[in-house]
Amino acid sequence: MIRFEKVTKFYNGGPAAVDNITLSIESGELVSIVGQSGAGKSTLLKMIFAEEQPSEGKVFFEDRDIATMNKKELNVMRRKIGAVFQDFRLLPKKTVYENIAFAMEAAGQSEENIVSDVPYVLDLVDLSEKMDNFPHELSGGEQQRIAIARAIVNQPDIVVADEPTGNLDPISAYEVVQILKKINDLGTTVILSTHNKEIIESLEERVITMDQGKITRDDKSGKYVL
C-alpha cells in the first residue's frame, strides 16, 4: 500500500534526515516506527502525505509515485489518509463538530452523511457531549481524540499518526492508542510513530526502529529496542 524506494531526504544541505530507506507497508498492518528525536520518523511520515518531498528516491501510494501526482490527485490522496499530529492541529475557530464536518465537506460529502457520521465518530472516541465546544475548551487528550475522529471520518485507507501521544499524560496516551488499535481492527492500516515504550510493547505488532535516518530493526512482533 505504501512503499519507499531508496528514499533520502536532506533539509537545507544538512545531513540526511532520512537516509536511503526502502520499506513497504501492507494494507491492514499496524506499524509502529520508533526511535529517538531526530531519527527521521516524522520526516518519513510527512513524505507519505506529501508534506515533504524526498530529495532522492520515490514514495508510492497504492503503486502511484506521489511525486508525479498533480494538485487534484494529491487532494484525493490526502482524503484517503487520515493524519494525526502531536500538536493536534485542530481549527481553533471551529467547534468540535465543525472541525470534523470540515474534513467531510472538503471531501465533498453530502449533508446527510455529515449529519449522521460526525456524531458516529465522536461516539467512537467517546466525546459526543463535547460536540459544540471549541478546541481550546478541551484537554490535550480530548483534543487528540477529536483529531483522530477527524482523521477517520472519511473512512481513510490509512491513518498516519505522528507522535500522537507525545503531549499526553499516560492515561490519555493509553486511550489514544487503544482507539488507534480499534481502528486497525476494523481494517484500516495504521502507521504510528512514537517513543513510548509501554505502548509499543502492549501492541505486539510490527515495529520499525530508526536511528540517524536509517532503519536499524524491523520486527514482525516487535519490542522497543534502542
Binding site: N75, R89, F102, A106, G108
Partner: protein
C-alpha cells in the same frame, strides 16, 4: 461534487468566520470604513471642484459688438457660421432693443443714467453676439476666426465694431491655467489617496488573515482543495468591505448635513448635502461596491500567499 452545495458551504463558513473573528473583524471593518470615507470625501470634493469650475467657465464669454446700423440679417448669418464651429458651446444674439432693456434693468436704481438715456432720441446701443466656448482655451481660436476678413460674406467686417476678447485675454488665459491646474491637482490627489487607501486595505486584510495562516495549512492537509480553502476568506474579505462601505456611507451623512449650507455659501452652485442625497445611489455603488471588491481581492491575495506554504509548519 455539487457546486451549489460547495458555494453554500463556503458562504456559510465565510459568514461564521466573519462573526467569530470578533475584534479583528470589527477593527478591519473600521479601517475599511475610514478608507472608504476618504474615498467618499474625495468623490464629493471632485464633484464640488468640477461644479465650481464649470460655473466659472460659464461666466466667461466673448462678445462681438456690432455697429449700430448693422443689418440684422448679416448678424444672424454670422451667428449661424459661428454656431457651426466645433469649439462653440452656444451663441446668443442680443438685439439692440434687448441690449437697451438689459441696460435699463441694470441701472434701474440709477436715475441720472436713465435720465441721460431719455435725452437721446434713439437707442445708442448696438446689437451683439455673446459666444461661449466649450473650453476657455478655445476662445483664442474663435477670436481669430472672427478676425478673418471674409467671415461675413460681402459686407466684410464693416459691421463688427469691436470684439472684447482682446481686452479680456489675460484674464481668460489666467483662468484657463487655473482651471487646468485645479483639474490636474484634483485628479492627482485622488489617485494618490486612492492608492494609499488600497495599500492600507491590503495590509489590514493580510494581517487579519495572518492570524489564521496555520489553519490554512491544516485545511490543505485534510485534503481541502485550494478553492475550498480560499473561498470562505474571499467571502470574509468581501464582508469586511461591504460592512465598511455601509459604515462610511452612514458616517458621511452628518458631515454632509453639517457642511451643506456653508458649502453653498462658499461655492455658490454646489451644496454638499444636496449632492449626498441626490447621489446616494452612486455613492452606495462606489463605496460598498469598491469596498466589497477590494476586500475580496485583498483576501484572495493574502490567502494565496499562505497557500504557497504547501506545508503546515511543525510547531
Amino acid at each position: 461534487m455539487n457546486t451549489w452545495t460547495n458555494i453554500k458551504r463556503i458562504s456559510r463558513t465565510g459568514f461564521i468566520g466573519f462573526l467569530r473573528n470578533g475584534f479583528i473583524s470589527l477593527a478591519t471593518v473600521l479601517i475599511m470604513a475610514t478608507m472608504l470615507f476618504v474615498m467618499g470625501t474625495l468623490m464629493t470634493m471632485n464633484a464640488a471642484l468640477s461644479s465650481t469650475l464649470t460655473q466659472l467657465q460659464n461666466k466667461v464669454d466673448i462678445n462681438v459688438y456690432f455697429v449700430q446700423d448693422a443689418p440684422e440679417k448679416d448678424i444672424l448669418a454670422l451667428k449661424d457660421s459661428i454656431s457651426q464651429l466645433p469649439e462653440v458651446a452656444s451663441v446668443e444674439y442680443i438685439s439692440s432693443d434687448k441690449a437697451l432693456e438689459q441696460f435699463k434693468e441694470r441701472h434701474k436704481n440709477d436715475q441720472i443714467t436713465l435720465q441721460s438715456l431719455e435725452e437721446l432720441d434713439k437707442n445708442p446701443l448696438g446689437a451683439s453676439l455673446a459666444v461661449r466656448a466649450k473650453q476657455t482655451s478655445q476662445y483664442e481660436g474663435i477670436a481669430k476666426f472672427l478676425d478673418k476678413e471674409d467671415v461675413v460674406g460681402g459686407s466684410k467686417n464693416a459691421i463688427i465694431k469691436n470684439i472684447n476678447y482682446y481686452q479680456n485675454k489675460s484674464a481668460i488665459d489666467k483662468l484657463t491655467q487655473i482651471i487646468s491646474a485645479s483639474r490636474s491637482f484634483g485628479l492627482l490627489s485622488t489617485i494618490f489617496l486612492a492608492v494609499i487607501s488600497i495599500l492600507i486595505v491590503f495590509t489590514t486584510i493580510r494581517l487579519a488573515i495572518y492570524t489564521t495562516k496555520d489553519e490554512i495549512g491544516v485545511m490543505q492537509l485534510v485534503g481541502a482543495s485550494d478553492w475550498y480553502v480560499q473561498g470562505p476568506f474571499i467571502i470574509e474579505g468581501a464582508l469586511y468591505g461591504f460592512a465598511g462601505g455601509i459604515v462610511s456611507l452612514i458616517a458621511l451623512y452628518p458631515f454632509a448635513l453639517w457642511l451643506g449650507a456653508p458649502s453653498q455659501a462658499l461655492l455658490g452652485s454646489f451644496n454638499v448635502y444636496t449632492y449626498y442625497v441626490s447621489h446616494i445611489g452612486l455613492l452606495f455603488f462606489v463605496l460598498v461596491g469598491a469596498g466589497s471588491f477590494l476586500g475580496a481581492i485583498a483576501s484572495l491575495a493574502a490567502v494565496r500567499r499562505y497557500l504557497r506554504y504547501k506545508v503546515a509548519k511543525q510547531v
